[in-house]
């Protein structure tokens, strides 16, 4: 029997998870929207950010909240290197080859992590993990609340940058018409590089914060890639608002299903949602005129 209190708890945890998923999904959808490349290795960069956060704490005693300021620039740099080292060379290739490249990268990174860090589950055991915030009848662990809040703040900041700055307008222009943007004097290379820099860089915030609420292991990223895909596809590829809405829905549905039925059913929920979303609104939850 699900009481109101359990339900409320499921809603609160679900929304918190959803906010974290949202930031992961927004990075993925930004890269896709601008470059039309599906980055199957997105989750592996989250995994790297989680390890970076873990080792910052384990080796130097740096609190995850502070580690953000080290790990984010690191991830942004990785994004730039990814563009110049790999993606740039695959841009002219057919889509299927691009997918093979990012899928291969995903497997490579997982196995490199397995060799380097072994398969152990690692966690940052923070003292504040025992503290909670009461939201109505529900409780939210402090580290999770911080991660959710940071995600939402960063999404809001990204949205403002995309709306208000030249830089954001250039990204949106490229996403809506490549040739149109080029004829406006916008260099695609620079915009692509920045899109990956930011898309991957956002994981530098999620990673360290997540490492105190979720075990880090070499395969942790794959789970997030899958969920982020569900969210991004359901929300409409390249659509920012759709990704946020999709993420909150997936987080909620997962958590409520977990309370109602079992954890194993909860794990299937995102994919069931994807199928429903595809049948109901194949163009994405928030309909958007297709620019190409």
């Amino acid at each position: 029997m699900v009481t109101f209190d359990i339900f409320a708890q499921a809603v609160v945890s679900g929304l918190a998870n959803g906010a974290i998923y949202a930031l992961v999904a927004v990075g993925l959808t930004l890269v896709f929207g601008v470059m039309r490349i599906i980055n199957f290795a997105h989750g592996e960069f989250l995994m790297i950010a989680m390890y970076a956060g873990y080792f910052a704490w384990a080796l130097a005693g740096i609190d995850p909240v502070l580690a953000i300021f080290i790990v984010t620039p690191l991830l942004m740099l990785i994004g730039v290197l990814l563009y110049d080292g790999i993606i740039r060379r695959a841009l002219a290739a057919p889509e299927i080859n691009q997918m093979a490249v990012t899928l291969g990268l995903s497997l490579l990174l997982q196995n490199l992590a397995l060799m380097t860090f072994k398969g152990d589950n690692l966690l940052i055991p923070l003292a504040r993990a025992t503290e909670s915030i009461a939201i109505g009848p529900a409780l939210l662990q402090l580290p999770q609340a911080i991660a959710a809040l940071a995600s939402l703040l960063l999404i809001a900041a990204l949205w403002l940058v995309l709306r208000l700055t030249d830089f954001g307008i250039m990204m949106r222009a490229v996403a809506q018409s490549r040739d149109g943007a080029v004829l406006c004097g916008i260099g695609l290379g620079a915009v692509y590089r920045w899109a990956l820099c930011i898309g991957i860089g956002t994981l530098g915030i999620t990673g360290p914060l997540l490492a105190s609420t979720l075990y880090v292991n070499p395969h942790v990223g794959a789970l997030f890639t899958l969920k982020a895909f569900v969210i991004v596809i359901a929300g409409g590829l390249g659509n920012f608002g759709g990704a946020l809405l999709g993420a909150l829905l997936v987080g909620l549905a997962e958590s409520i299903a977990g309370a109602w039925f079992s954890a194993s059913i909860a794990a299937a929920v995102p994919f069931a949602l994807l199928i429903v979303a595809m049948l109901w609104r194949p163009e994405g939850l928030i309909a958007r005129r297709v620019a190409r």
Binding site: D166, I169, M170, R172, S177, V182, L183, C184, G185, I186
Partner: protein, 236 residues
């Protein structure tokens, strides 16, 4: 010395060439039309000038400098602006954002507000629609955004690919009045049109393209007057 000089251009898509050795000159401040039927290669020639496709042979020179291999966004920054066929607007961006997107570099950025005011003076309707998403505008208004956006790059040459297509005569007249005003200020115009009467009346000199080859060129008034020419090449 022409401002834009195109020599013996061959270009196309996939295995086949669309253009077979096309040459064209445009003097600084000149008005030139490129006419020809559908599929003659007009848009392909436009794309080899703005760089969206690479020429397989021949040369494009601009302002005395060879730009055949110059990347397209750099050609825009050198002063060649294109109002493309199909307009290529950013439909989810507002009118103003479309204008801003075309002024993110160098002098265009420094003079953005000034240029924007000029564009709004040329097309007062765009000032009213500044906050509206470009995709929600009428065809004529979208064409105005496309021209305004091209002007935001502060070009010396404006290439217009089928600017009148699908528009009501009143809107076409409005747009061509603006083009005349721009020309009067010294802007070079390369007008690509299927509407031959209209384009020949708006320019000094014209080239007729047929199946990827130039078959005729001359002062626009002569081409208009010559009945035989009209019958043979201009489909009248």
């Amino acid at each position: 010395m022409p401002d834009l000089n195109i020599a013996a251009i061959a270009a196309g898509y996939g295995a086949a060439d669309v253009l077979h050795g096309v040459g064209l000159d445009l003097p600084a401040g000149g008005r030139v039309a490129l006419v020809g039927s559908n599929g003659a290669g007009k848009t392909t020639l436009v794309k080899t000038i703005n760089g969206l496709i690479a020429a397989r042979a021949g040369a494009v020179r601009w302002d005395g400098q060879e730009i055949t291999r110059t990347r397209p966004h750099d050609r825009t920054r050198l002063g060649i602006a294109t109002v493309a066929e199909g307009r290529l607007l950013f439909p989810d961006c507002t009118v103003e954002e479309n204008l801003v997107a075309a002024s993110t570099h160098g002098a265009a950025k420094a003079r953005r507000e000034e240029t924007k005011a000029e564009v709004f003076d040329l097309f007062p309707r765009l000032r009213e629609r500044a906050r509206q998403r470009a995709g929600t505008l009428s065809g004529g208004e979208q064409q105005m955004v496309a021209i305004g956006r091209a002007l935001m790059t502060r070009p010396r040459l404006l290439i217009l690919d089928e600017p009148s297509i699908g528009l009501a005569p009143k809107v076409v007249a409005e747009i061509f009045a603006v083009l005349a005003a721009l020309s009067a200020r010294g802007m070079s115009l390369l007008l690509v049109e299927q509407n031959i009467q209209l384009s020949l009346r708006s320019v000094d000199y014209a080239y007729v393209l047929q199946q990827g080859r130039l078959v005729l060129e001359g002062p626009a008034a002569d081409l208009l007057a010559d009945r035989q020419v009209r019958a043979a090449y201009l489909g009248q």
